[in-house]
């Protein structure tokens, strides 16, 4: 039995909104829904929010300010001023320093907790070490959750349940939310070491304020390998490979770490944390809501299909879900049609960029290492900036002069 201590502010029997998962999506949803005046319960399986980290921790500079998040000093491991893209030959590179490539490498153990604190201050009630193992469903409608807390199992009811349960998305799937599009092929699988005694420079070049992305089938088939600095000699070194690429992510990470060309930079580094996980890099879910139920963040496949970054998109999606949930709960209109306003706004705000990047991913997946080597020796930082902005045509033209065999693959982008 669970302990029943008089006066302990435990989980109540009923709330307006229950949010499963206190990652970036869940925390922002909680903050916004609570701000609207709804009663909000947040349940997270983890005994310590934010830990263990399963993330490269890179976040674009614009996000925190845009979504009203004040980063505490501890939440920032490094300030990033640009990106370095490295060809499969590990030699040719392009360094881009633009507003789009400015950002942070976070400490998610601190960042996730900060977000939860903000949600709590807004009035949400948060519980860690509280695993939701099932949903209460009546007549095909979600009416609440079944949670394992303090050694006891119990049911909690609500008008709306929001699944913000990340890549596993068990809760979303228990409610029958499937995309019907994505497959193993459209998921990236990642493995990462946080390493100390890393060299963030070589041959007089300083990389300590850059995120580095290494492309090529040899290093990361249908994905990329990364070095994200977390301090002057500390970095997340990881690899994400496309689903079904054999054998597995750790194989490619170890291969990269063992390559003689990386010896100077990583040869004497130590492993101070081991992380991994899945990242859906496909279409978002077909539906984001059903009666009394919403899905948000990575659980809804709201992840950048090019770089697999999901924090920024989770923050915004969670925020939008929370606003709509809060309003609908107070109006007592929690049918799918009312909640669907969340999807409408999400598409207005995100789809323009998302759709283009989805198309770009399909193109990048078709390229081999010779293509990458050729392209990265042809284009410059301004070209990459154009690509990031979704202006493909001039860059495609330039690439085709040197590599006409890519004509068929690349024309898709020109017609977008």
């Amino acid at each position: 039995m669970s302990s029943e201590i008089l006066g302990f502010p435990g989980i109540k029997d009923e709330y307006d909104i229950i949010i499963v998962g206190a990652g970036p999506a869940g925390a922002l949803a909680a903050r916004e829904a609570a701000k609207k005046g709804a009663s909000v319960l947040v349940l997270d399986r983890r005994k310590e929010l934010g830990a263990p980290v399963r993330c490269g921790e890179g976040l674009g500079a614009k996000y925190p300010e845009k979504f009203g998040i004040k980063l505490s000093p501890g939440a920032i491991s490094a300030h990033i001023n640009g990106a370095r893209v490295i060809a499969p030959n590990l030699k040719d590179d392009i360094i881009i320093r633009t507003p789009e490539t400015k950002g942070f490498v976070l400490d998610r153990k601190v960042f996730d907790k900060d977000l939860a604190k903000d949600a709590a201050r807004a009035g949400a009630s948060i519980f860690s070490k509280a695993e939701v193992y099932d949903l209460i469903q009546e007549g095909g409608k979600v009416k609440g959750v079944k949670v394992n807390f303090d050694g006891g199992k119990r049911e909690v009811r609500s008008k709306i349940v929001i699944a913000a349960d990340g890549a596993e998305s068990v809760i979303a799937r228990l409610a029958g939310m499937k995309d019907g599009v994505s497959t193993l092929y459209d998921t990236d699988y990642g493995m990462e070491y946080e390493m100390a005694n890393v060299k963030l420079e070589e041959n007089g070049k300083d990389f300590s304020d850059l995120i580095e992305l290494f492309f090529g089938r040899e290093w990361a088939p249908r994905g990329y390998t990364w070095i994200f600095p977390k301090g002057k000699d500390v970095a997340n070194v990881g690899v994400g490979i496309g689903g079904l690429e054999a054998p597995n992510a750790i194989h490619y990470l170890h291969k990269f770490l063992a390559d003689p060309r990386m010896k100077y930079r990583l040869g004497n580094a130590s492993i101070i944390a081991t992380k991994g996980g899945a990242i859906p890099v496909c279409q978002p879910l077909k539906e984001f809501v059903k009666d009394g139920f919403m899905v948000t963040g990575t659980a809804a496949h709201q992840v950048d299909p090019i770089h697999g970054g999901g924090i920024g998109l989770a923050l915004n999606a969670g925020r939008l879900a929370g606003i709509v949930a809060g309003e609908c709960a107070l109006e007592n209109k929690v049918d799918a049609a009312s909640l669907d306003r969340y999807k409408k706004i999400w598409y207005e705000e995100e789809w323009g960029k998302f759709g283009k990047r989805l198309a770009l991913r399909k193109v990048l997946e078709k390229m081999n290492d010779d293509d990458f080597n050729s392209i990265l020796s042809t284009i410059n930082d301004k070209d990459i900036d154009l690509v990031l902005e979704g202006k493909f045509a001039p860059v495609v033209q330039k690439v085709l002069v040197k590599r006409p065999q890519l004509l068929k693959v690349l024309t898709v982008l020109v017609n977008l």
């Binding site: 399963r54 596993e168 998921t187 597995n248 194989h251 081991t274």
Partner: protein, 59 residues
């Protein structure tokens, strides 16, 4: 039958859980639990695992 997870190697990242179409795997904070009654030995999680620590039962 059901898949076997090498818990000495597993980093409970949940990649297998995300992949399993049958919800036969669940992340339990510090380990991954296999539900043998749901597992159909399809092997998708074996392919997904970033650590290569899941195996199918021997035929």
């Amino acid at each position: 039958m059901a898949v076997t997870i090498n818990h000495d190697k597993c980093i409970y990242c949940g990649a297998c859980v995300a992949t399993c179409p049958y919800l036969a795997l669940r992340l339990r904070e510090v380990y991954v639990e296999v539900y043998p009654d749901k597992c159909v030995d399809c092997g998708l999680c074996v392919k997904a695992c970033p650590m290569g620590c899941i195996t199918l039962p021997k035929k």
